[in-house]
Symmetry: C2
Subunit: 334 residues, 2 copies
């Protein structure tokens, strides 16, 4: 098992990428990690080269501000493009990057290529179960498409369902559609049409509409939504959680002794909560619908998130879900 890593992508690259990869190399000796990027810079953060880490020099870097499609086409010697090509040729099994999201989507689609019959790949994330020790909820499309059509959403339901089954070990995943009401006749033109297709889709267990306020309630194992809305919902969740934490912190600071003492005692609860809200331990987002595993994390990622995303990469590769999806899409013209 081999994972290609774009060592130069993200705000804290190559440092946190290399450190996360080194931790993963120690934890998973059966996996080989190939780091793409400036060799001299990568080596700065590696005391000694573990036997399951390889370095492949890449002269160029795709930065956050670069135009996605143009940079993939013009920066042929960039760490991201070379890493993607190594997956395309079969030398590596998966691609990980914390770099320019649009460029990574373009690299996945244009270099690694779509699975046959998949119209549009999607970005898929996992919503942690915050109410107990249940399984995470698969949520897609987090923004690979900004104008999803009903047929895309329907296919994403199939992709999400296979992932929930293979990776989260749920026998018959409940697939729900994010909508502005729970009744069957609710929604925009796109969601109403998607509802119909999902209802008729015999490859999934479609359970109907779900509203955004239910996302954390384990009401579904897979939530599908158009890429624009899911992206906005995810950012609203982030913004709300951050605001609540900041206000709490400020209140503690300005509250004087009484609340400072309370805060000290309350620390366990808050850190437990932060832990549950912490997406990083649950892995990154996966570009589903392409011919190999492609994963990303936030640009402001840290060593821990890199490690857990590489762990996730290993788990997904072991599940063979992408091979299974290729088979399903080929057989059934799904």
């Amino acid at each position: 098992m081999r994972i290609a890593i774009d060592a130069m992508g993200g705000d804290n690259a190559p440092k946190v990428i290399v450190q996360g990869a080194e931790r993963a190399a120690k934890a998973f000796p059966e996996v080989t990690f190939e780091l793409f990027g400036k060799e001299s810079e990568i080596k700065k953060y590696l005391d000694q080269l573990p036997s399951n880490i390889e370095i492949s020099h890449a002269e160029e870097i795709i930065s956050g501000g670069d135009d996605p499609v143009r940079s993939i086409r013009s920066k042929k010697e960039s760490s991201m493009v070379l890493a993607a090509k190594s997956v395309k040729t079969g030398r590596n099994d998966a691609l990980f990057s914390a770099g320019n999201t649009g460029a990574l989507l373009a690299a996945g689609t244009l270099i690694i290529g779509r699975i046959k019959n998949i119209q549009r790949p999607a970005l898929m994330g996992m919503i942690p179960d915050m109410t107990g020790d249940g399984k995470p909820t698969v949520f897609l499309d987090l923004g690979a498409n900004s104008d999803s059509k009903a047929e895309h959403i329907n296919q994403h339901g199939v992709l999400g369902s296979y992932f929930a089954k293979a990776v989260n070990q749920i026998d018959t995943p409940r697939v729900a559609l994010l909508n502005n009401g729970t009744e069957a006749n609710k929604g925009s033109e796109v969601t109403a049409a998607a509802y119909k297709l999902l209802s008729e889709n015999s490859y999934i267990n479609f359970t109907g509409n779900i509203e955004a306020r239910e996302i954390f309630n384990q009401a579904a194992d897979v939530i599908v939504a158009d890429g624009f809305t899911a992206n906005a919902v995810l950012k609203a969740i982030e913004g709300t959680a951050k605001t609540i934490f900041n206000i709490t912190k400020d209140s503690i600071k300005s509250g004087g002794m009484k609340s400072k003492f309370g805060a000290l005692l309350f620390k366990d609860i808050l850190s437990d909560l932060k832990d549950r809200l912490d997406y990083s331990k649950i892995g990154g987002a996966i570009l589903v619908g392409v011919n190999a595993l492609v994963l990303k994390t936030h640009g402001e990622t840290n060593e821990e998130a890199v490690f857990y995303t590489l762990k996730q990469a290993k788990d997904v590769l072991e599940s063979q879900v992408i091979e299974e999806l290729k088979q399903v899409m080929q057989d059934e013209n799904n």
Copy 2:
């Protein structure tokens, strides 16, 4: 100044509606409140009839499950329809209901009527300032439309801007477009087209795109979005806040003495936070773009939310913003 109240709308009607109206009647003796609904039931919750409360009997009730447009047309003796008609004829200046949202939108549009040249009314809410004592942020369309077009969003920018100016006393409100990135070229087909129209709109101070994670950061005075996305974002905010509160409560319960003691001391901070997150004190949502003031609150409303929404009704009526909007739309074919 006279406000028509649908006393029968909402889960806890008529009790909390009547109690909220009674409190408002005491606080604002210059306003007359006309309660529409079953007279005998309304009177149960009024010890004595204040001089500025009137009761108009209505035999029918539009319930939460009724089809919006059909119920407005068929239940002519319902409290909501009679209250809306009293605004249409000019007997009352504003309509308040906690009932079926779709029916209230239909009543606003079909009975009270759109302002000339307004293509689609919108639901507008106020996001409280959680970081300090700043002004709330106007947010629309919260879901009056599930397939907003770019021209609708552009008009909603004008509606929101006039409200922010007149009601929140902001001289030159910053109007931002909710989008999936901050760069000008980001977005769906609809938001890209809306961006162009908003940029060229000389009636507002358009400041560009804003992402959902910035909603609480006072980065804009007015945020416009298509009705489907804003609705999902609002529900995601609600769900996230509720989840964080519930986890915190559970942790306290199961955390034993130490955290129980901490929680006790921490109580002030949490209640302060809840207070800031409490939409009810900031009023309900307003249906903007119709010929008179129409306000709603959640179906699960309480006496306090009813009171604050009626206070908001008074403030908006005093601001004369709807008269101003009618003028602007007439003059300019905006």
